[in-house]
Symmetry: none
Subunit: 207 residues, 2 copies
C-alpha cells in the first residue's frame, strides 16, 4: 500500500514538514514553488496531487494552506508507563481516590503494574512482614470484582486502610496478618465504612 515517493515528492514533503514544524502552518503552493524554483503553480500542484494520491498528505479544495500531513513524522510512541495515584490519608466516607486523599502520582511501567485503576499505598506497620511487605513499603493494589481466599487485600475501615490476607467466613471477613505477633481482625461485611479497596498486585521497597 505504501507507494514509493519520487525524489522530488519526498523533497517537497520534507519541506512541508519543516515548515509546519517551524512556523506552525503549512506553506502555500506558491511558497513551495519559490523554494524549489518551480515557476508555475501547476508544477507544484502535480506534485501535491501525487503526494495526496500516495496518501502522504490530504488537502481541502480551495482552502489556502490546507495541507494536512497524514503520516505524522514521529508518532509519539505510546507510553509504556501509567500514572498511579498514591493514596495518602484515607478520609472516612470518601472514595479512596478522591482528590482529597491522593498524595501524588507515580509513573510505573505497565509491565509491572498492568491494569487501569491501580493505586499505590504506603505501608504502616509490620503486620505483613511474613508476606515480604515491610513498614514503609509501597504496595500497588487494584480493585477487583471478586476477592479470593488468601488474596492480599487493601481493606478500608472508616478512615483506616489496612493490608491483610483476605479470609471470608460466613458473613464476616477475617483479615489475617502475616506476623505471628499480630492477631486477626474480623469484620462484619456490612459494617458501615468498611469496604475492600483492592487486591495487592505489587510491592516496591527502597532498600
Amino acid at each position: 500500500m505504501k507507494k514509493a515517493l519520487t525524489e522530488r515528492q519526498q523533497a517537497v514533503l520534507d519541506f512541508i514538514r519543516r515548515q509546519v514544524q517551524q512556523k506552525g502552518y503549512p506553506p502555500s503552493i506558491r511558497e513551495i514553488g519559490l523554494e524549489f524554483g518551480i515557476r508555475s503553480t501547476n508544477g507544484v500542484r502535480t506534485i501535491l496531487e501525487a503526494l495526496e494520491r500516495k496518501g502522504e498528505i490530504s488537502r481541502a479544495p480551495r482552502l489556502s494552506r490546507s495541507i494536512e500531513l497524514v503520516k505524522q513524522p514521529a508518532a509519539p510512541v505510546r507510553p509504556t508507563v501509567t500514572r498511579i495515584p498514591i493514596v495518602g490519608r484515607v478520609a472516612a466516607g470518601m472514595p479512596l481516590l478522591a482528590e482529597h486523599n491522593v498524595d501524588g502520582t507515580l509513573s510505573m511501567d505497565r509491565d509491572l503494574v498492568s491494569g487501569e485503576s491501580t493505586f499505590a499505598l504506603r505501608i504502616k506497620g509490620d503486620s505483613m512482614v511474613g508476606a515480604g511487605i515491610f513498614d514503609g513499603d509501597l504496595v500497588f493494589a487494584r480493585p477487583q470484582g471478586d476477592y479470593r481466599r488468601g488474596d492480599i487485600v487493601v481493606a478500608v475501615i472508616g478512615d483506616e486502610a489496612t493490608v491483610k490476607y483476605y479470609h471470608p467466613e460466613n458473613g464476616n471477613i477475617r483479615l489475617e496478618p502475616a506476623n505471628r505477633f499480630f492477631g486477626p481482625l474480623v469484620v462484619d461485611r456490612a459494617t458501615p465504612g468498611f469496604y475492600l479497596a483492592g487486591k495487592v498486585v505489587g510491592v516496591f521497597r527502597k532498600v
Copy 2:
C-alpha cells in the same frame, strides 16, 4: 509580564490551538468569526491584535493563516521516568550491562530508583527471603564507590550473579544470605571473575 486574557480572547486562543492540533494549520480570520458568530472580520481582528499584543500569538502581515502560537500549549514535561536495563544471563568476563547480557528495559519513576546507572535483576532462589527478597522478585541495584558492611549487594562470580549481604573480613568477603537454611559464601577479593556489581536499592514484587 503575563497580561491576563479576557474570556473572549482565551476562547479564541483555545479555538486556534484546537484547530492547529486537529488540522495542522491555523484557522483564517473568517473561520474564527464563523466559529464564534462574529459577522465582521474586524471583530476577530481586534481580538487577534489583543492576543498579539499580549504575546500569545504572532502573525505575518498579509499572509493567510499565519497565526503562530508563541506559547506552546503543553511543554512536554520532562520525564519523571528512567529506562532501566534488566540483566538477564551473566556472561563471565563481560561487563554486566553489555548488550549481550541485557534482557530488555523497564521504565521506573525517578522517585523510586534515583541515580543513573541503576540496573535490574531478577532473583532466583530463596536465599534472601529474610530480607523480604523472594524468588522471582525484581531487584534494582546501583554500582557504588564503596560498599558497607550489611549492604545488600549484587555480587558477580564468574557467570553467576548473586544477591547477598555484604560482610568484608580481612581480605575475604563473606556473602551472607538472609535465610537460615543457607550458608554464607566466602570469596577471596581477588578471585578472578569476582566483582561487586552494585548495591541493591529497591525491590519490586508482583503479588
